[in-house]
C-alpha cells in the first residue's frame, strides 16, 4: 500500500509525519535541527529518499542539510551561496539603493530527473543551483542581472525568491516568483529571464500595471498542463493560460482575495485551492473561521471547505510554502499554520483533521507519495 511522508519546516525545527495510504494514523518524528528555523525541506522526485533542508538562524546563518534515507539521518551539505560578481544594488523599503546581501534560503527545489541537482531560491532574491547534491552552489546570474533588478523592492518578509517551478514538459523552462518583483520565466535553463507579469494590477505601487514590482505570493501548476499557471498575489487570485505571458483575475466569490498559498489538485488540473486571509495587515482568516476554498472550475467559482477546521476564534495564518497535495486517489491535502497545527485531508479537502496541533509556527509543508 502506498505511504505518504509530510515534511514540515517550522520556526524551531523540522518534523516528518508519515502515514499509510489511509492517512488516518500518523507517526511524528522530530524536531530535527531543533532550535533552528527550517524555511523549507523537500524530497527529490527522482529519488524520494533524497531530501534537502534549509536550516538557518539569526546567530549562525545558513546551513543546508541532505538526507539519503528519507529523513532518518542527515548530513551537512554546502552552505556557500555567494553572489556571482559584484552584487550591485536593489531598492530598500524607503526607495534608496541597497547592496544585495544574502540572508537565507527560502525554497529548495530538487530537479525532476536528477537527485543531485537542486535549485535554491534565496533572500536577497537570487537563484542558485547545485549539481552535486548541494555540496557546491552556483548562482544563475542572469536573473539578478535582469535590467529591472536594480528596481526590485522587498515585500514585508524581505526580497525573497520563494517559488521555483520546473516545467516537466519543457526541459529548461523554469518559473520563479519574487516578493515583490513578480514572476520571471526562463526558457534556457536559467541563463536568461523575462518578467511574466502582464495582466497583474497592484494598486500599492506607483504604476499598478508595471512590468515588475508585484508582490506575488505563490504560483502553482499541474504537471499535466504546465502552460496553465495559478497565482495567489498579495491581493488577487490570478490565472495564466499561456505559460505566464498574460494573467487574468479569477478571485470570483472569495470572501477576500488576499492570501499566501495556492495549489492544484493531483488529478484534476482545474481544481485549485487557496486559504483566504483577511488583509495584509490582518494576517488571519476572515471572521475567525479557518477555511480552505476550492474551485473546480479553475477559478472564479469557489466553495468553502470547513469540515474539521476551526470555525470560531481562529486567528492563525497559513504561509506561502505551507500547503501541499499528495498524489493518492483521492488526493490528500495538507497545510500548516502559524499556530503550529498541521491539518490533513484524505478526501481532496472535503473533510479535515489535525495531524499535529502544537508545533512551532509552521513555515513550510511538502508531501511525498511513496510506493
Amino acid at each position: 500500500m502506498s505511504r505518504v511522508r509530510v515534511l514540515v519546516g517550522t520556526r524551531k525545527g523540522a518534523f516528518v509525519l508519515t502515514s499509510d495510504g489511509t492517512r488516518e494514523r500518523w507517526d511524528v518524528s522530530g524536531p530535527h535541527f531543533g532550535g533552528w528555523e527550517i524555511y523549507h525541506l523537500k524530497g527529490s522526485p527522482a529519488d524520494p529518499n533524497r531530501l534537502y533542508a534549509s536550516q538557518s538562524s539569526s546567530w549562525f546563518g545558513q546551513v543546508i542539510q541532505r538526507s539519503n534515507d528519507g529523513g532518518k539521518t542527515w548530513q551537512t551539505a554546502g552552505n556557500k551561496l555567494v553572489y556571482e560578481g559584484v552584487p550591485g544594488t536593489h531598492l530598500w523599503y524607503d526607495g534608496t539603493p541597497r547592496p544585495w546581501e544574502f540572508a537565507r534560503v527560502w525554497h529548495l527545489e530538487p530537479s525532476l530527473t536528477d537527485p543531485d541537482t537542486v535549485y535554491a531560491g534565496i533572500q536577497d532574491a537570487a537563484l542558485f543551483r547545485s549539481v552535486d547534491g548541494a555540496q557546491t552552489w552556483q548562482e544563475l546570474p542572469g536573473l539578478r542581472g535582469h535590467k529591472s533588478a536594480p528596481l526590485w523592492q522587498p515585500g514585508a518578509g524581505g526580497l525573497c525568491l520563494h517559488t521555483i517551478l520546473l516545467d516537466p514538459s519543457h526541459p529548461g523552462r523554469i518559473f520563479i516568483a519574487i516578493s515583490a518583483a513578480g514572476v520571471f520565466r526562463s526558457d534556457d535553463a536559467g541563463t536568461t529571464w523575462q518578467p511574466m507579469n502582464r495582466g497583474l494590477r497592484s494598486e500599492q505601487i506607483p504604476d499598478p500595471t508595471a512590468e515588475v514590482g508585484h508582490c506575488v505570493h505563490r504560483i502553482a501548476m499541474h504537471r499535466s498542463r504546465p502552460g496553465v499557471l495559478f497565482m495567489q498575489k498579495h491581493w488577487d487570485v490570478m490565472r495564466s493560460d499561456d505559460a505566464g505571458d498574460s494573467w487574468h483575475e479569477v478571485s470570483g466569490n472569495l470572501p477576500t482575495d488576499f492570501g499566501f498559498p495556492i495549489d492544484v489538485h493531483a488529478h484534476e488540473p482545474d481544481t485549485i485551492y487557496v486559504v483566504p486571509i483577511t488583509s495584509d495587515s490582518e494576517h488571519y482568516p476572515p471572521e475567525g473561521k479557518l477555511r480552505v476554498y476550492r474551485s473546480r472550475t479553475g477559478g472564479n467559482e469557489w466553495e468553502a471547505l470547513t469540515q474539521g477546521l476551526p470555525q470560531r476564534d481562529c486567528y492563525v495564518n497559513v504561509l506561502r510554502d505551507a500547503m501541499a497535495i499528495d498524489a493518492l486517489d483521492p488526493c490528500g491535502l495538507y497545510f500548516g499554520t502559524t499556530g503550529g497545527q498541521v491539518y490533513g485531508s484524505a478526501d481532496a479537502g472535503d473533510s479535515w483533521a489535525p495531524i499535529v496541533r502544537d508545533l512551532p509556527p509552521v513555515l513550510s509543508v511538502e508531501v511525498q507519495t511513496l510506493p
Binding site: 546567530w59 549562525f60 545558513q62 556557500k80
Partner: protein, 98 residues
C-alpha cells in the same frame, strides 16, 4: 593545544561533545584558531564568520579569560592562557531573541 568551547547548536552541527582541542600552527590568533576549527569541522564554515568577508557574524561573540574579544583584531595574539590551553576560547551565541 588550544581549547575551544562551541555554543550548543554548533556542537550539534559539528557532532562534538564538550570542548574542542585544536593544534594551531604559528601565532595563536583568533583567525588561526577559526581556520583550524573550520579545517577540522568543515560544516562550521559560514556559521561563525561570513564566507566572503570573514567578518564575525553579528550575533556571535568571542570571550576568553573574562574578556570580550569580539571586537579585537582577528590577527591580535590571544591571551597567553588561551594560547597555552590553560583557559578555553569561548564562542558564544549572543543573548538575543528572548
Amino acid at each position: 593545544m588550544i581549547r575551544v568551547v562551541l555554543p550548543t547548536h554548533l556542537r550539534t552541527l559539528a557532532r562534538v561533545n564538550g570542548e574542542v582541542e585544536l593544534d594551531v600552527e604559528g601565532p595563536a590568533t583568533l583567525r588561526a584558531v577559526l581556520d583550524a576549527l573550520e579545517a577540522r569541522y568543515p560544516m562550521l564554515h559560514g556559521t561563525i564568520r561570513d564566507h566572503s568577508t570573514q567578518q564575525r557574524r553579528a550575533f556571535v561573540r568571542f570571550f576568553a579569560c573574562e574578556q570580550d574579544l569580539s571586537h579585537a583584531s582577528p590577527d591580535a595574539p590571544l591571551p597567553d592562557a588561551v594560547a597555552t590551553g590553560t583557559e578555553p576560547l569561548l564562542i558564544v551565541g549572543a543573548m538575543a531573541g528572548g
